[in-house]
Subunit: 243 residues, 3 copies
């Protein structure tokens, strides 16, 4: 059992610690794992695909607290999704919709509970954290805090996203395309460039660019001992195609 955090709050910023203080208060002794706090800021679609690529490796009773939430404090709803025996707490802005669409079964509840103090800008701390803690500590949804929802308000669907959705600190560019469906002979097209497949970094020369199946199962653009993002001028949102 663990609470897993996936946000754009910033790994070095002052937000994550405030979330953890709430979790520690309401779910003491339960492990908290920082999966990512550098999800592309304000980019809900990229975050939705990135999150969906990683959840399958977590234990079935995991509780995810998720926030890429530019509309916080506005009209968007907040939800708890149960998908393939894992729980997800977060905004109903599409962030949870890719993993829900890909799950064998999923269920959605709208959050109606409000804490005594609810800031306009930090629902991760004030709303999602107490709910994630309650779920993790008790293994079930607190009575009366939710209403059943037919589905999510905003759905991106479960299809791949042929774009760069994340650039890591090495400069590797992750796409929203699952590599299992792509033939190894295919060339990845990036503007005027074409990249071939390699199984692993050390199979290509130093400084050479290639695509491969990364450890999350996604198509990734990389350079052996170099930064693909810098070398090829890549950024989140750039489109990719196949030839």
């Amino acid at each position: 059992m663990a609470i897993v955090l996936f946000t754009d709050f910033g790994a070095g910023d002052l937000y994550v610690g405030q979330v953890k203080a709430v979790l520690q208060r309401f779910a003491p002794g339960i492990a908290v794992i920082d999966l990512l706090h550098e999800a592309p800021a304000f980019n809900v679609r990229a975050g939705a695909h990135l999150l969906a690529s990683m959840v399958g490796r977590f234990a079935e009773d995991s509780v995810f607290l998720t926030a890429v939430d530019p509309g916080v404090g506005g009209a968007r709803n907040a939800v708890v999704v149960q998908a393939d025996e894992r729980w997800y707490v977060g905004p109903d802005n599409g962030l949870l919709s890719v993993l829900a669409a890909r799950a064998a079964k999923s269920d959605c509840r709208r959050i109606v509970w409000q804490p005594q103090q609810l800031s306009a800008s930090f629902h991760g701390r004030d709303l999602f954290a107490p709910i994630a803690a309650a779920l993790a500590a008790h293994g079930e949804l607190p009575e009366g805090w939710f209403e059943h929802a037919g589905g999510l308000d905003l759905e991106f669907g479960g299809d791949d996203l042929p774009e760069i959705i994340y650039v890591d600190h090495y400069g590797n560019a992750h796409t929203g395309i699952r590599a299992s469906g792509i033939a190894r002979e295919a060339s990845l097209v990036l503007g005027a460039r074409r990249l071939s497949y390699a199984r692993v970094f050390s199979e290509v020369a130093e400084g050479e660019a290639f695509w491969y199946q990364n450890s999350q199962g996604l198509v990734e653009i990389a350079v052996n001992r170099g930064s693909a993002a810098r070398l090829l001028g890549l950024k989140v949102g750039d489109g990719v195609a196949w030839a």
Copy 2:
């Protein structure tokens, strides 16, 4: 019960792990929460106001290990402050003085204990960590490690600081002004610019700048889906006024 860390040691650097190794040895099983390791480097006054804005949300028996400490290894003293039932370990250079001035009651003890190995540059690991661990593990000050002090050597006082004290990774600029005392009609003055109040990001147009009460209760300058720091050229230390 938790040990809460507030430092300028760097979230990605090799210092925090060394502190945690000491805490784990002397206070095994006690939760450690990273509140912030990116406090503005060498800027004790900004750190003092930032810390003071956040401590009220932590449980009353929390033990804070604090370090923004450019004078480490020199003549400044080290202290333990007890303020409103929370404990704070750190340098006596003003860092703890804002929260102490604002507390209903506070008490200050000078650290006289010295560890067997005390590096000149890393008291966070060698001095503050064993003391924070002892406090957290035993709930009281070890006998003979302290002498009573009439007050802190350096006091900034409890008043607001009309400056930018922190810029977060979104580019939002936090000031040292508590928002509860500011009328919503007031315009925040930044050089030649005037910014109006908004309750929340989604109330203004994309790319528009405004001020609001942030989740720590401070006046913050922000831009909807953009970076206020980049757009307005803001940095820690810039002064702000009202009109």
Copy 3:
């Protein structure tokens, strides 16, 4: 008892959380300490010296999971080293060789076990984490997972490295030279510059550069309240000498 992580996976990136999910599954309740995730990328030699400078402060039963591993997925072996009662899991590419050479006694075993799912690019998660977890949870090597090795395949030796091996976020430049062997009268030579020794930052004027014995025992180049890296144009790999 703790599992200590030393990698170039990036403190803000999505890799460390995936490692921790595996550790949490196979070694629940055991403390995990992030020592460093910003080891210079691809630079195994710098990482080897940096790691060796810090291990002595960790408890004797600590289990280190280490990865600076540009050859992951290629021909390099993976090993478990036991040195001075601490355990180290990582690639056999020299990363563990400096600490092993300096240990009073050390012992090396090659990893022959393979997990059911082994990605080509993330042995830290798929191979090293289950082994580190097993070691930490059971205190011994799982039967049949290893074969005895006469020594490491790649050895850098235990001598000092007269180069900059790390630049921290303050801009301080750590060298691979142990300060205990250097006379305080010696001048550190950096290209055309010579720097004198100071015991501590506050002993020199603001903005002045000096060398000192840092808290890991290494010779470090620093500037009081400033960035030595920026002021002197320093980067990892730059050579240093004495005069």
